[in-house]
């Protein structure tokens, strides 16, 4: 009984914390302007589309991974899947949810693009260091 109550409470808290955490990651990256070359590569000009998320992730996988980026992008990936699930199920019943999930999914794409930019800069630095040595 007690374990059951703890389980239910913990799942509710987990969802709330997780969504807020992902939104804090997005909010911190949204102010970061994308460079012209990342805009060209990703095709993101002013606003990002949720449907581009998978493509930007594929581009991300082409760059060397940075350990401190891993949790962020994985968390946002999970959040994106959660949003897609809500869009495919609940948003059909509650239409106002549809535009909200679409905005959130677009912001997930923007976060991935910012991470891509960081990884490109990181790769450039590594390359420059190798050339110097």
């Amino acid at each position: 009984m007690m374990a059951g109550i703890i389980l239910v409470c913990s799942v509710v808290f987990l969802l709330q914390f997780f969504v807020s955490y992902c939104r804090s990651l997005i909010a911190a990256s949204i102010k970061h302007p994308l460079s012209a070359e990342v805009q060209d590569v990703t095709g993101i000009k002013s606003t990002a589309e949720g449907d581009d998320f998978t493509r930007v992730l594929q581009l991300l996988q082409l760059c060397p991974e940075r350990p401190e980026d891993r949790s962020g992008i994985q968390a946002i990936g999970t959040y994106f899947n959660l949003l897609s699930f809500v869009r495919a199920t609940l948003a059909r019943i509650i239409p106002s949810l549809r535009s909200w999930t679409e905005t959130e999914r677009g912001q997930c794409t923007y976060f991935a693009a910012v991470t891509l930019e960081r990884r490109i800069a990181f790769s450039r630095d590594m390359f420059a260091q190798q050339l110097e040595s």
Binding site: A3, G4, I6, L7, C9, S10, V11, F13, L14, L15, Q16, F17, F18, V19, S20, Y21, R23, S24, L25, A27, A28, P67, E68, D69, R70, S71, G72, A75
Partner: protein, 232 residues
């Protein structure tokens, strides 16, 4: 295969814990979040000792099980105090550190007494049973305290991005562990599945903290009301 998976997750966790301390030192945040960093450093040391014990005695050895649960209880108490320092950060302008400290000690004593009262009913291996129960209860108390802290952040309109992310990631971590313990209590036969799951939960916190220390400057700000699931 499960052994290999556990080892890989373990290694990632150890690297993440080291990354937190290194990132905090490099970004000049070690002293500001001293207890959080000391907790991570302590966790790193404990993980290395655990790895040594496993490689010598095996994952199912009594030595490992005893060390795992005793060290886990000590680390949980440490994390509990680290959480209290986050309270001090949020309430710093109200000069409420003394009350936070007193409240934390009282709550810890209360949790220990409650755990003892529950455990006293089973006579066999009282201390070990107490240690395991205490860390489980502290995870749940930690979760509730983090939730209250998150509420206070929203209410007080706290804007420090790094602090907000540290609190939220701690909330996710406590929730994951509380879910894990609750499911383990409900379905004890599935306990072998939960070993890699605990490792997976354990990776999240160091990675999230390393990210917060590395990418977010102390002066970064955001509007916390935008983060709430229910808009304010």
């Amino acid at each position: 295969m499960p052994g290999l998976l556990v080892n890989i997750l373990w290694l990632i966790g150890i690297l993440g814990e080291a990354a937190v301390v290194v990132c905090a030192i490099k970004k000049g945040a070690f002293r500001r979040y001293l207890l959080l960093n000391l907790y991570m450093a302590g966790l790193l040391c404990v993980e290395l000792v655990r790895y040594k014990i496993v490689s010598e005695y095996g994952l199912k050895s009594t030595q490992f099980i005893y060390f795992y649960f005793y060290s886990d209880a000590i680390l949980t108490i440490f994390l509990y105090f680290a959480l209290c320092t986050l309270y001090s950060h949020v309430f710093s302008e109200m000069k409420a550190e003394r009350y936070v400290r007193m409240g934390a000690l009282l709550l810890l004593a209360g949790t220990a007494l409650f755990t003892y009262a529950v455990v006293m009913q089973s006579t066999a291996k009282l201390l070990t049973h107490f240690v395991i129960e205490l860390s489980q209860n502290l995870y749940f108390v930690g979760l509730i305290l983090t939730y209250i802290l998150w509420g206070a952040i929203l209410k007080l309109r706290e804007t420090r991005t790094r602090l907000i992310q540290l609190v939220l990631s701690l909330g996710v971590y406590f929730s994951l562990l509380a879910v894990n313990y609750a499911v383990r209590n409900l379905y004890p036969s599935l306990s072998s599945i939960f070993i890699p799951l605990v490792q997976l939960c354990g990776i999240f916190l160091p990675m999230a903290w390393a990210y917060a220390f590395w990418h977010l400057p102390e002066e970064a700000r955001l509007v916390p009301a935008r983060l709430a699931v229910i808009p304010r």
